[in-house]
């Protein structure tokens, strides 16, 4: 068997039926439209959060009843701005990490770099989201001292739990993305061999 016979044997497979191709085309259009709608929603929600919650927190940080509450709302405002920025960055890097039409070596290198940035962002999630959790925690502390012990303790507990869950989730996601990046780098090393 020579080269051409080998190629012939390989290509000697029936074409997918027309109905299957039509179904795939429809599924592609549906998936693409759904992804666009989802992204649009994320952007709208983040603009609303930035445009409404941030100014509201800033207002409370200026007019809060005690210095503790004012400091808490200032932290929440900073935390919201950081979180929205992080969300936009994640969205942009997710786009970069998608397989595109570049030559495989440069495309996979771009994807690996985007994955590294995303992994680092997720791993440090507990740190950059800390202003929100510390701010809400301080509000819980003020509630505990000035209003309701049960309410304050409850808010502190929920905030602590949410911080812990987001930290663990971020670390796990970061590890998964790192593992994916390492596998891609193995492929890259194999291409460069």
């Amino acid at each position: 068997m020579d080269d051409e016979a080998l190629r012939e044997a390989w290509r000697n497979q029936p074409l997918p039926p027309q109905e299957e191709l039509l179904a795939t085309a429809e599924a592609i259009l549906r998936t693409d439209a759904a992804a666009r709608v989802k992204e649009h929603r994320i952007r709208v929600v983040s603009w609303v959060v930035l445009g409404v919650l941030c100014p509201l927190s800033v207002w409370f940080s200026a007019h809060g009843v005690t210095p503790l509450v004012r400091a808490a709302y200032a932290l929440v405002a900073v935390g919201i701005a950081i979180s929205v920025t992080a969300e936009w960055l994640t969205l942009a890097w997710t786009h970069q990490a998608r397989a595109g039409a570049g030559a495989s070596r440069s495309q996979l290198a771009t994807t690996a770099a985007s994955l590294a940035r995303q992994a680092s962002l997720f791993r440090s999630g507990a740190l950059w989201a800390s202003p929100i959790y510390v701010g809400v925690g301080l509000i819980g502390l003020w509630m505990f001292q000035a209003r309701s012990r049960i309410g304050g303790a409850g808010l502190l507990l929920v905030t602590g739990a949410a911080w812990l869950v987001s930290a663990v989730g971020g670390l796990a996601k970061g590890r998964a993305l790192d593992a994916q990046r390492l596998r891609l780098q193995d492929v890259l090393a194999d291409l460069d061999r």
Partner: protein, 148 residues
């Protein structure tokens, strides 16, 4: 889409099995659809399509930890009763054993791309492609045929 459905299907059959195969097929055409506005015509449509297809397959393989099991090569509806089917099956099994880069090069070569076209798709220099393909062909073909 119809023009490239057959080679993409063949690529999917090597990288995945069962239901995953349809998912990869769809994922590749979704990536082609999304990348289409960026197609400037500086490469041929064929090499451009293969670039997207191979990038999606390699990225998916890195993303998806599940590896195709050895016996899944036999899960096709193809009944290997004829010599051509048996050759196809043997080829598919050989492709599954290869490293990702060798598999990409071999698939592109089997689809009839030249070394310079493969360079365009993978970014590996044409001379290196030729050397690697020569080694791969020695493994795939009997000794007397690989010299021909």
């Amino acid at each position: 889409m119809a023009a490239y459905a057959a080679p993409i299907k063949r690529l999917c059959a090597v990288y995945t099995s069962g239901g995953d195969r349809d998912d990869l097929f769809q994922e590749i055409f979704l990536a082609i659809w999304r990348s289409l506005p960026g197609f400037r015509g500086d490469a041929s449509l064929r090499t451009w399509v293969y670039r997207v297809a191979h990038n999606v397959a390699l990225t998916r393989q890195a993303r998806d930890r599940r590896r195709r099991s050895r016996e899944s090569a036999l899960d096709d509806t193809v009944q290997p009763t004829q010599a051509a089917d048996l050759r196809q099956l043997a080829l598919r099994e050989a492709l599954e054993r290869m490293s990702p880069a060798d598999r990409s090069l071999t698939l592109l070569w089997l689809e009839g791309l030249s070394a310079s076209e493969i360079e365009d798709v993978t970014g590996i220099k044409a001379a290196t492609v030729a050397v690697r393909l020569s080694r791969i062909r020695r493994q795939l073909l009997p000794p007397e045929a690989s010299h021909g």
